[in-house]
Every structure is written in C-alpha cells, then in structure tokens.
Amino acid sequence: MHCGCPGRRETTTSRRGFLKNASAGFGWLALGGLLHDPAFAGDPQSLTTHLVPRAKNVIFCFMDGGPSHVDTFDPKPMLKQLEGKAIGEDAVSKRSQSAASRVWLGSPWEFRQRGNSGLWVSDLFPRIAEVADELCVVRSMLGELPLHGQQNLLLHTGRIVGQAPSLGAWVSYGLGSENKNLPGYVVLNNDWVPNGGLENFGSSFLPASHQATTLRPTGTPVDNIAASDSPERQQFKLNLLREQDREFALRTDDTDAIESAIANYETAFRMQSTIPEIADISHEPQHIQQLYGIDSADEHQRLYALQALRARRLVEAGVRFVEITCPSFDGNNSPWDQHGLLKQNHEKNARVTEQSVAALIIDLKQRGLLDETIVVWAGEMGRTPHTPSVTPTCGRDHHVNGYSIFMAGGGFRCGMAFGRTDEFGNSVVENQVDIHDIHATILHQLGVDHERLTFRYGGRDQRLTDVHGRVLHEILG
C-alpha cells in the first residue's frame, strides 16, 4: 500500500513507470476496446488489502451543522429536571460554546427504547427508530474546537486545518475502484460548499483522481458529463483526435503522458453514459422509491431521497465511498446548526433526511449489501445541552465535548450504544472516542490498517490518522 515516493516529484515517475508496465501502448486501441483503465485505480502495485476486509464500501450521511445528541441518541432526563438552572463554572468547556450563566435545556422530544435491542432513540427520528437494531451508536465523540470549519475538516481529513486528503480520497486511494468508469469517491451534493471549503472533499497530496466527484440532485449530475455532441459526432472527433495526437506523441519525449491523456478521452467517453445511467432512478420499482421518500411533498426531502437512492446504486456499481450532504433549505450551509428555533428546524431536518437514511439501511439489508457496506451517520459536532435562556425560540450552540454518531452495517455491532456522557450530555465520562478512532475503525473494516495506508509527502509518510487513531474493536461484530 505504501507509495514509496518521496514527495511530489516522483508522482510523475511512478505514473510513467506504471504506464510502461501496464499499458503496453493502450492509447492506440480502438474506441470501446479498452479494458484496462488505470485512471481511477488506486495504488497500482498492490490492490490487496492489509487485513481480511469485512466491508467493501462506505456511505457517509453527513449531518452538516451538528444534530443535537441530547435530542436524538443520548437521553438526559436531568436536563428536563434542571431546565432553566444555571450550569455553573464546572460545566464550562472550551470544547463547547459555554458560560457559567447559561442554563440547562431539556429535550423537546421523548426518548424511547426501540426494537429488540432497546436502544434509545428519540421521537425526532421515528423511521430511524424502526431500524434501531441495526445501529451502532457512539455517544462519546470528542472533537477539538466548537467551530464548523475546523470540525468539518477534522471529520473529513483528520486535521482541523485540512491540508490533507479526505477520508473518501484515502479509501479510493487505498482500495481503488471496482468500476473503471466510475470514480472511487462520490459526493452527492447540491453545489454548495461546506464550511472549511471544498477541501473537505479533496485529495490534497494524493493523486487528483481520488478527489470527490460531485453529483448534483438537479440539472446535470456531474460537471461536463453531458456530451456536447451526439455520440456519432463525438466518436468521429475522438477518432480524429487519436490520429492527430498519436503523431504528436511521437514528436515528444513524454509519449507516456500523451498516451495517458488519450486514454482519458476513452474513459471520459464512457463516463458520459455510465454516470447518467446510475443517476437515473426512474427504473427503480415504485415501492423502493416510496421507501426512500421520492414521492414526498417536501422538495428538500425529495432531493435527499433521490441522493440516498443514488448512493445505493453507486455502491452497487462499485463506487467505494459515497457521501451524502444535507440539503440546505434556508441559505444556511450548516443545515443542522440550530442556534435558535431548535424544535422547528431540527424537525425539518429530520423530516428531510431520516426516512431516507432508514430506507437506505433497509434497502441495503434486503439486497444483502448491508454486510459489506458501512453506513455512517455523523455531524461534525453535537449541540450544547444548555442555552443562554429558555425561550420558545431558543436553540443549542456548538458542542464537541461529547456527542453522538452512528454506524450501521459493515460488520459493526448492531443495536448497541458505546461510550457515555455525564448526566447532562455535557462531557464524556466513559470510552472517549475521537474522529481518528472512527477513521481507523472504518479503514479496518475495509481491510486497511490505518497505520500502513500511507503516502510519502513533505518528507514523511502521511496517513489519514496522522499519529492518532485506535481501532474500536469493542464496537465490531
């Protein structure tokens, strides 16, 4: 898995070396005759994994903005009992927007034990509650700073400052793609840029082919994927170009680069049909569409349902890592960021997303795909169990000092809750988990040792988990 090249310079070398080894002049093959396409493959030397993989794919439902843990998966009756009481100096933390004078705020939603497992899920998530027995909830997440940009980058790249590849890029780099006409990492997003920037989806120092390809719910699904020509005309042009480029390649010293660029045209040609095919869900049976909520009256829910269903189709087609972002409905690009109007807007966010998330789990399971697909549900933070003052429109602020996320499928233990926060959900008291641990565990399930998946850059072997990360065997089946 180790790339073995010190810094950027040798990226070129290894590409050349690889093309020499693997292609045997594939650039000259006729259109459609290409079977070997390195463009989306990961490290070519070795696509065998470190460990026996439990899962093949990841679907990451990113709950951007930070859903409240004490209103979803971490019941805290004390908050109701002491509602309106000042939290005091002891409850203040730099990992939380806190001050001694703030007051506890009880949850507006009832919590119940669900399924056979008795996992606690609040009434905010009635559909997710129905699949409670599939969930592996971690209630003891600890972040670094209560800020969207930093936490987004931490969640995605393992560093609060970013400047490192996204988890999806690492997975793509480490495992390659099972489908040569599809990228290894796809983000289902609606063109908005999350806090922290597009870097959240980037490949940083990894080769650019591992950065996320963004699929939009409306309009052209992927940039430039709609052919500007009819297939016949495009084929005609590509034939012309191939002849033209071949002559050029012979006049240069870097034939490999030109050949590779020619090959990219062949791949691009095929992507133009593959990607729209996958994006098109119209042939999915009616009951499946309904399961996801494609028929919803709410436009945002329809968009999210469409993306969730596409996520399943992408995974089926061999994409390694799919991320779904939440639709933004009021110009806020952190949809779950309810500093005010907690009840109203958390309910709206829940309505938009939770049915589709539950549907994804059900659908994957009935297709036998849940075992090999890790579904991750996580925001970049939780929300404060306290508020400046209890009012009808009050909300909860940024909190990374203990919050909840869940995994489903992919060999994670199901129907369990791991880790514990204090009686207010204000700090972690048992089994503290950080993002690096989650990253390490996800990679582990994919058969990858997070300490051995490295890329030489800036003079050292970089890895997703930097110098951190522990595989959480306690939550693995």
């Binding site: 170009l241 006049r251 003079g459």
Partner: protein
C-alpha cells in the same frame, strides 16, 4: 558484585595518567558523538526515551534499557551499544550508520573501561540545548547554508555551447556523464515554447509568419529579437507574477466560514505585474514584501501617484484567515501564524521553518526556538490596512477645496449677518418661534431649543405637547419671563459647574483638539486625517442636493471635512501603555466607518463596531482591563471603511439597527467618515459629562440682570444667535456655537438654500467639481509598526497552544545569527531582516530565486524542490551553475529580466525534445538537461490559450477580480457567478476564492490556494478530457472562433485549416494532417446537411473543427 561496582572499580583503579587520558578521549571523541547523535532520543530532553535507555549520564547506560545492559566495560564484543552502532542488532542512529572510525572510537573507549565523568543526568532543558547546539554546528554545514561560491565556468573549445556560461556548465556535466545535448529545436517549436514560457500565451499568427524566415536567416539575431519582444510584452509581467503568486499563496479572499474579501489582494497582484514588467530588482521586492512599510525611501509610482512599497506586506496577509478572535478560539490563531511563517520561509529562504513549531527540525538547522523567535518578529507590527496613495496625490484639489471652503464661509457669513428674517430682532424671532413651535415641541434641557420651548410654553401655561394647538396671537404675557429666565440660568450654572468639576476630578484630558495633532503614541493614517483638522464651526459643504452646507463641524478631526472619499484611521497606543486604565474617545462617523479592539493581533477579529451615521458624537471607551487571562496586548483602531482591514465584513453584519451591507457589496469605493473631537484618560468607569457650552453665551454673562419682559427675553435669544453668526463669519466660533449654529441650520433660521444665495451657490458648485476629481483611495492590507512596542512570542511546548513555555526573544534564525541586526532592532526587526535577505551576504535568497526562475523556464529547477533546500529537499543537479547564476543575478542588480533573457538565449534552452536512448537510459529524469522536456500548460495558460486562439482574449491588464462562472451562487459567502468567459480576461484576473476557486482552473491543477506552492502538480485525469470535450466555455469559444473563421479571407478549406494550425498550434500542418482535418470539416458540414459548396460559410462546421483543435493534446502541451 554488581556490574556498577565492577565498572567503578575499573575507573578508580586506573593510574592517574591513564585516567586523564581516558577522560580526554571521552571528552574529545565520545561525548560529542553522544550529544549529536544520541541525545535526541536517549536523554532527558527526549519526548519519549528510546528503548528506555539514557545515554546522557553514566548511571543511565549502566542501568541499561529495555533490551538490557547497553555496554560491558572492557568488552566491546558483548556491548549492545556497539552492535547497534554496527547495525547488527538494532540500527542506530536511525538517520544512518556512523563512520567506521567513530565506531572504532567507541570500541576503544569501552575497551579502555568506558570512562564517563557524567555523574548527573542533565535537566531536560540542558540536554535539549546541548543536543541542539551540537546538531546545529553540524547542520550549518549544509550546502544551501554556505554562501554561493564563485566558480569560473568550465572552458570548452570552439563549441556553439561555449559562448554562454550557463551552457558550459551544462555541457560539461553532460560530457562527464558521456552524454550530449539534443539537436536544436526548430523555429516553430522554439517560438511556441518561448511564447508560453515568457508570456503564458500562444504566439500570434503574425509572430509565426515572421519568426521562422528570420530565424533561418540569422538564428541568433532573430532569437534575441523575439526574446526581447516577449520580455517587452506586458504579458511577461503577468506570467512571472502568476508564478510568484503560487509561491506566496495568492488569494482574493480569506476563506474559512465566510470567505471574506482579502482587502487589497488584487492591488498586490497588480503590484507584482508592474514590478516584473518594470524589472524592479528582486532584492527590492524582498525588502518591500517583508518590510515595505518601513523603507526610508519607498518606491513611488509617479504616474499613478501611489506608494508601491507599501503594498508589499500584503504578502503576509495572504492565506486563510479564520474568523473569530484569538481569545475565543485558541489554536486557530496559531495555525494562521504557522501559515505565515511557512510562506515566508519557503518563499524567501527555501526552508521549512514551519516544521519547527512543535520541536526542533528533525534534519535542518532550524530549532523550535527559531520558530517562535520569528513569530515575534512577524507579530510585533499591527496587521492592518494602509493608505497607499502617494503623499500629496490630491494636493491641488485639497488646496482648492480649502480655499473654496473659506470663501463659502465668508460669503455665507456676510449673507447671514446681513440677512433680514427671523433673526433681525427679538420680535421677529418670537414670531418665528410661535410659527415654528412644532420644531422644538419635544426639546430637552440639554438642547439648544429648550429656552425657546420654555418661553413659548410656560408663558402660555400650557404643556409642551399642546403647543401646536396654541394660536400665536394669544402669546404676549410678560410676568413669568424673568422667572423662567432665572430658573434657566440657575439650573444651567449649577449643572455646568457640577459637570465641570465632576469631569475635572474623574478625567484627564489627553486632547480637546485646541491645536492640531494627536497625543504621543497615537498613530494616524490617510489624507482624511492629514487634512481633517478643523476649528469650531468649519462648514461641511454639501456634496449633493439643493443645500449649501451639510453642517457645522466641532473642533477636532473629521476625515470628511474636505471630502468623504479621503481615508482615515486613528490607532491608539497599545492598551498596556495607557496612562490610566481607560481611554475614552469622543467619536462619530458613518457609512461603514467603525472601531475595533484587537487582542493579541488576531488577524480577523470580528470587528469593527460600525458607527450609526445619524447619531451624535459618543464617548467610546477603550480599556486596558482586557489585559487579563493571558492577553498581553490589545490594539485598537478607528477607521473609515477603506482603511478597515476586514471590510467588507462577513455578510449580514449590521451597521446600526438592521442596516446591513448588501451581500453584493464588495466594499469598493465607499464614501465613509469618522470624527474625533476629544480624548480623555480615566480610571473609574463612566464618560465625560456634557457641560452644555452652547448656553454659556446666553446664561454665563457678566451682568446678573434678568430680562424683565417677554420682549427682552426674545431679544436675548436673538442676540445669542446673532453673536454666534457674527463670530462664525469672522471664523472665531466658540465650542458652544457649533450646536447652536447646527440648530439654526436645521430649523431653517439660517438659510441654506442654494437658489437664495447665488454667490455661495456658485462656490459650492466649484467645490463639488473639485471634490469629484478626488479619486477613491487605494488601500491594501499591510503593516504598521509605528508606536507599537515589540512582542516576544511564547514557545508552545511541543506545539501545544495550551502549554506555553518561556517567551523567546524576537530574532531571525540562529543559523544566520551575527549577520543581521534583527534582535537588536528597536521595532519588529523586519527592516533588518529585509536588509539581510536582500544583501549579497545571505546565501539563500538569490539562490532560491534563480532556481525558481530556472524551474519556470525549464520545468524543473536545478534543485527540484524549489521551496525546500534542506535535507528533505533535492540536491542541486548543477551546484556550481546554481551558485554562478546566483552571483551573476546579484551582480546584475537582481534583475529578473536579465536572468530570464540569459536563460532564454542559452543553447540549453534552445534544445529540441529529442532524447537519445543513452540519455533516456542513464538520466531518465533529465536532470542533466540533455533535452528540453515536453510540458503541459498550466491551468491559466490553457484557458488563456482558448481565449487567445478563439479571438476572445481581452488583453487589458490589472483590476479588481472577476467572478468566475459558478454552477450556483452563494450570496451569503459572496460566491457570485460571473460571465462564462469572464469577459475574455486572462485567468489571473479571475477571483481566487479559497472557498471555491474557479472550477475550470482547478480541473487543471490550480494549487490549493491557501498554501505556498513551489511547484504545481501535473495530473492527467479523465475529468480534464471531460472539461475540454464538454465544458460550456470550451464549446462557446469554439463557436466564437468558428463564427469568426467564416469571415476570413481564406480562398478554400485547406487554406483556412492552415491558418487554424498556425493560430492554435503555432505551425503549419503536414500533408496528412491537412488532408485529415480538411476532410473532417467537410464531414462536419455534411452532418449539418449543408451542401459542399457552402462549407466555407458554415459556421457550425468550422466551430466543430475549432473544437477538435482545442482537444488535441498538442493544444495543451508544448515542447
């Protein structure tokens, strides 16, 4: 018997002479090696002691480590230490095996009894210092830290390659490798290469036609002519500027959550373009970027009247700025500092100082202390906006405005003094007052109108609110006038006395602006302040509408006194230097002027508080009480919008009430103003009380006589007002006159109607014309260290921001100590740093820069890692050539242009891309330069070529960034979409937003904007094919070209295809190509169901062919 005892006995039983010898051997041969190679992991300074073994004192190795006893005295064979050094067991030291003679010394030492006088373990600090000192001594021997060596170019005999020294170095290295250079490139290849390398644009058809014949006739002459022509092109500056922008992480925004515009960034981009076009010496550019605000003789752009040097420090501001103050989110601030240090050290030094944030550099001569010493240098100045207009830029207009203002005042003074009307007599005033009583129906005792109100209402015995219903003819009773008067006088005198005394006891006046100037330690900026001092009553001339004057100004500073386009900033001394715990400033302002306090130089604190333009002056308190919880410095400033370094603020920030700046507003060209009319210092809370001076001329009279009648009362009011007018006409206004005059102006007692006072109206018209000639200021984020004291930065232990160690004295890197005066400097030391870096004494600056230029010219530098000349970087392929170039460069005035010319004309550069087998085999990386490599165009050059070839390129230089086309807008982040072709402007003018950089460019490896990048990646991915096949911009430009093609004067298809080759690829087609593409266009026409004859006019067909050209690999590569 324990091992220790055995060893100790061995030591004591030696003869004294032997012991001394052994001791000497240890000190000279063993200890230095231990310090240098072992202490880092095996001493108390180690973060984690390797294998549990301490080698920093005797008992340490005697106790041994996890693997057991480290050495057996007298028996090297049994000693694990020797095995490790020989790399037989573990491999120590990890950086590489020590020389055999050193290992032999260790064996000898152990054999001799392992004498070791080190009784006590060192403290962590001692061990670290000792270990660092010895490592530094070794590391300073590194090649790139040595001054460039003057080496004569090798001598060759009679070869073409012997003319240019550069070539002789290259040739002789090739010879040594038994290789030779490639054959010279053909004319068309050379033209295209030079055009892209020097301007980033393809050659024009005219150049293609002209160059080849000229080259065949006189190759050297033609080439020189071409190179000079390209160097003279303004696009040369754009090209080199864009390269440098990568190095300094150029952005137009600050990224993070709100992507706030980076004020003046584009000014810095244009500064670079101008500088490279004008061939400003690189030493000067170094001085300007590091300390442009401190240069004794700044570089003035005479033509456009601004200070170029002051733009340089924008270099520091680039990169990401996260919002929020350092106080709220410790950690973020330090990340930003890290980015600044990273950019500085990579750009100018080719060193990676940022790596030393958490620990001494693992391999290079950079300690952790160096990092924090440098942080102190950079964090001493204020990071703030500067006005970069040249002093006196608007001197003529300012003088004219001043003169007109005086004339207007004279005219109006005469007019108002002589005017008939309500102020003619007490009776007239009384009549006016009753007619206009609703104007002062709600006056408070503090307001000018109050005596009017009192008299009108109380003489009638009615409540003020009922005044408007009272007919004027009913008002004529005298009996209460004197009583009212008495009350007013008494109450005013008592209030005035009380307040004066309260003010005197609680506040120390620092300035009431009786004279121009600010107190010591206060720093000002901008023409608004320079020309903003006024005496009481100075009229603020109306710049629009039918009125003549807008108001009368109180004594003090008003940035808009002459024009609200003039910028102004007032910077307070650091809070720690306040004479008392608070300083309060009497402030007003408007149109996005504001003030803010900045703790610890937070780069993007969420200020400022904006003024409400409608509010009266307010005493605003700046407080030293913020100096707690580790905050050691608070800097406050009051600025107009143009001098606010964080303007425009993030979207949605309200000014006052709910007035917000429109999302679309980028904050350019804003009229804005601020006024400062008093400064006091105080220890207790509160603000100075208003002593109501406007009434002093009315109540504080020498005589105690009271007005006896209503008429006398009115006459006094009338005299009070006339007095103010008279004094004003003579420019002798008193402090209390200003509110009085302003009240008269707003109530209409003073006529302000242009149509009624034609002489004044004419002057006001001239005033407005002169004011309109004043341009909006140029400002840019830069630095200002006037009036600030130096900062030493605290070391963060292991880089942990919550674990602060001792403050590290400001300094430049220890390895260069003794060569510069940074530590001794009175200010930040930036000026001294800049002087050293731009001198011949610094080994790095010139060498790092010439290497960059080499890379820009040849694709790879002589050092392939242009921003890292350290251990982790590459070694130079031609060290002597690199040194020769650096020395030559400095000797030729650090001229980038001369350097580039020299390289462009070299035989090395003129080579073709033909590689022979031996060369490909022996030097596949082409480090010896045996041919010119095929290079892919950078993202910008690809897009610019599309524009140039299609005919859409707008060659205009400079200007504000242009929004790139976007899939969707996010107005709250100011991510707006622009026209698909960005108006045909070159790519470097597109807005480089950190949050969402132009997608087209990103597709072709535009680097991560917030990081300094020495060398761009070149990837080759299908998304690039998709862009060129389907991106609407490419399709649109193909159509643009196709549409223009059908109007050319080509007689037939073949001829037109030839012109397309020349335009797109800079060459004529071969026969086969010509045939292929000519028949293609006929085919395109056919599929478009057009008859064969009309192919020549078929726009669609030619657009298709244009599209094919854009998609050829040759279009995006040059060789």
């Amino acid at each position: 018997m324990s091992l220790t005892a055995v060893l100790w006995m061995g030591w004591v039983s030696m003869s004294t002479a032997t012991a001394a010898e052994e001791l000497d051997f240890f000190e000279s041969r063993i200890r230095p090696i231990l310090i240098q190679h072992c202490y880092e992991c095996h001493s108390s300074a180690s973060d984690e002691v390797g294998g549990g073994l301490l080698l920093d004192h005797r008992a340490g190795w005697q106790a041994g480590g996890d693997s057991g006893v480290a050495l057996v005295s007298g028996s090297p064979q049994e000693s694990l230490l020797i095995k490790a050094l020989k790399q037989e067991s573990s491999e120590m030291p990890p950086a590489g095996k020590l020389p055999d003679d050193v290992i032999a010394d260790f064996e000898r030492w152990i054999l001799g009894g392992a004498v070791d006088p080190r009784d006590q373990p060192l403290s962590a600090a001692e061990a670290a210092a000792e270990s660092w000192r010895s490592r530094l001594a070794e590391r300073r021997q590194w090649w790139s830290l040595q001054p460039p060596k003057s080496v004569a170019p090798p001598e060759l005999n009679g070869e073409r390659w012997s003319r240019e020294p550069v070539d002789r170095f290259v040739w002789s290295a090739l010879q040594q490798a038994r290789l030779g250079p490639a054959a010279p490139a053909e004319a068309d290849v050379l033209l295209r290469r030079l055009s892209f390398v020097l301007t980033g644009l393809p050659p024009t058809s005219e150049q293609v036609f002209a160059f080849s014949p000229a080259f065949h006739k006189h190759p050297d002459q033609a080439l020189e002519q071409l190179v000079d022509e390209l160097l003279d092109s303004p696009h040369f500056g754009e090209r080199i500027a864009r390269h440098w922008m990568d190095v300094v992480r150029y952005t137009d925004t600050y990224g993070y959550e709100w992507d706030i515009p980076a004020r003046g960034s584009w000014q810095y981009r244009d500064y670079l373009i101008r500088a490279f076009n004008a061939d400003v010496g690189f030493d000067q550019l170094v001085r300007e970027q590091i300390a442009g605000d401190l240069l004794a003789e700044p570089r003035i752009n005479v033509q456009e009247q601004f200070n170029e040097s002051l733009i340089g420090p924008m270099f520091y501001h680039l990169g990401e700025h996260r919002h929020g103050s350092s106080l709220d989110f410790n950690g973020i601030h330090q990340e930003m500092i890290n980015n600044k240090i990273d950019a500085f050290s990579k750009a100018f030094l080719g060193m990676t100082v940022a790596c030393a944030r958490c620990h001494d550099h693992k391999l290079d001569a950079i300690s952790q202390a160096d990092y924090y010493a440098l942080a102190g240098v950079f964090m001493t100045p204020r990071w703030t906006a500067r006005s970069i207009d040249a002093p006196g830029k608007h001197a003529a207009e300012i003088a004219e405005l001043r003169q007109l203002r005086t004339q207007i005042q004279q005219q109006l003074g005469e007019f108002w003094t002589a005017a008939d009307g309500p102020l003619s007599s007490g009776t007239d005033l009384r009549q006016w007052a009753f007619a206009h009583r609703d104007l002062f129906a709600t006056a408070t005792p503090e307001q000018v109108a109050f005596p009017f109100l009192k008299l009108v209402s109380q003489t009638q015995g009615v409540a003020p609110g009922d005044l408007s219903s009272l007919p004027p003819e009913l008002a004529s009773v005298d009996h209460s006038a004197s009583k009212i008067w008495q009350q007013l006088v008494t109450s005013w005198k008592s209030v005035n006395a009380q307040r004066q005394s309260a003010n005197a006891s609680a506040f120390t006046s620092l300035s009431a602006f009786v004279k121009p100037g600010f107190p010591d330690g206060w720093v000002t900026e901008g023409d608004g302040i320079l020309h903003g001092y006024v005496v009481n009553g100075t009229p603020l001339i109306s710049l629009e509408g039918a009125t003549l004057i807008a108001s009368f100004l109180p004594r003090g500073y008003h940035t808009h006194a002459l024009s609200s386009k003039l910028p102004g900033a007032v910077r307070l001394p650091a809070a720690a230097q306040f004479s008392q715990s608070h300083v309060s400033v009497q402030l007003s302002g408007g149109e996005w002027a504001g003030y803010r306090s900045i703790p610890q130089n937070a780069f993007l604190s969420e200020g400022p508080a904006f003024f409400d333009p409608l509010a009266d002056p307010v005493w605003t308190t700046f407080s030293a009480t913020l100096l707690k919880n580790g905050v050691t410095r608070v800097l406050a400033e009051i600025t107009t919008a143009s001098l606010n370094s964080n303007f425009p603020p993030r979207t949605g920030v309200a000014r006052s009430g709910s007035v917000t700046l429109a999302d679309q507003d980028e904050g350019y060209d804003k009229r804005s103003w601020l006024s400062i009319t008093g400064i006091v210092a105080h220890d207790a809370g509160g603000i100075p009380l208003d002593t109501l001076p406007q009434f002093s001329a009315l109540y504080d009279t020498d005589t105690d006589s009271l007005p006896a009648t209503d008429a006398e009362y009115w006459q006094r009011l009338c005299d009070w007002q006339r007095g103010a007018i008279r004094r004003w006409g003579k420019q002798e206004s008193q402090p209390g006159d200003v509110p009085l005059l302003n009240w008269m102006l707003t109530t209409g007692l003073l006529s302000n109607d242009a149509s009624l006072i034609p002489q004044a109206a004419e002057l006001v018209k001239q005033y407005r014309q002169a004011e309109s000639r004043i341009t909006f200021p140029r400002t840019a984020n830069s630095m200002d260290e006037r009036g600030v004291s130096s900062v030493n930065y605290r070391l963060n232990i292991r880089g942990n921001v919550d674990d602060e160690g001792a403050a590290v004295p400001r300094n430049f890197l220890e390895v260069f100590r003794g060569n510069h005066g940074v530590a001794e400097a009175a200010g930040s030391g930036r000026l001294e740093l800049a002087a050293y870096l731009s001198s011949h004494d610094n080994p790095q600056t010139a060498r790092v820069f010439v290497n960059r230029v080499w890379q820009w010219m040849f694709g790879t530098g002589l050092v392939a890692t242009p921003s890292d000349f350290g251990q982790l970087g590459d070694r130079p392929s031609h060290p002597e050539l690199l040194d020769w170039l650096a020395i030559q460069f400095m000797n030729e005035g650090w001229s980038t242009r001369k350097l580039i010319r020299r390289l462009a004309l070299s035989e090395t550069f003129r080579q073709s891309g033909l590689v022979d087998h031996a060369a490909a085999e022996r030097d596949p990386e082409n480090r010896l330069l045996h041919h010119y490599p095929t290079r892919r165009l950078e993202a910008e050059a690809i897009r610019d070529s599309l524009l140039a070839v299609s005919g859409r390129l707008d060659r205009q230089l400079y200007g504000r960034p242009i929004n790139p086309p976007r899939g969707s807008e996010d107005t709250t982040k100011r991510l707006f979409t622009g026209p698909l072709d960005s108006l045909g402007r070159r790519s470097l003018y597109m807005e480089m937003s950190i949050m969402e950089p132009p997608k087209f460019l990103v597709g072709f490896n535009l680097p991560d904007l917030k990081l300094p990048v020495g060398r761009r990646d070149v990837t080759n991915v299908p998304a690039q094919a998709l862009i060129l096949l389907n991106d609407p911009l490419v399709v649109q430009l193909a159509e643009f070209w196709g549409t223009r093609l059908v109007d050319d004067d080509s007689p037939d298809c073949e001829q037109r295809v030839r012109t397309m080759f020349i335009r797109a690829l800079g060459r004529l087609p071969g026969d086969r190509e010509l045939k292929r593409l000519t028949s293609a266009v006929q085919r395109f026409a056919k599929t478009g169901s057009v008859t064969a004859d009309s192919v020549m006019t078929d726009k669609a067909a030619w657009s298709e062919l244009a599209h094919v050209f854009f998609n050829t690999k040759e279009f995006i590569y040059y060789r």
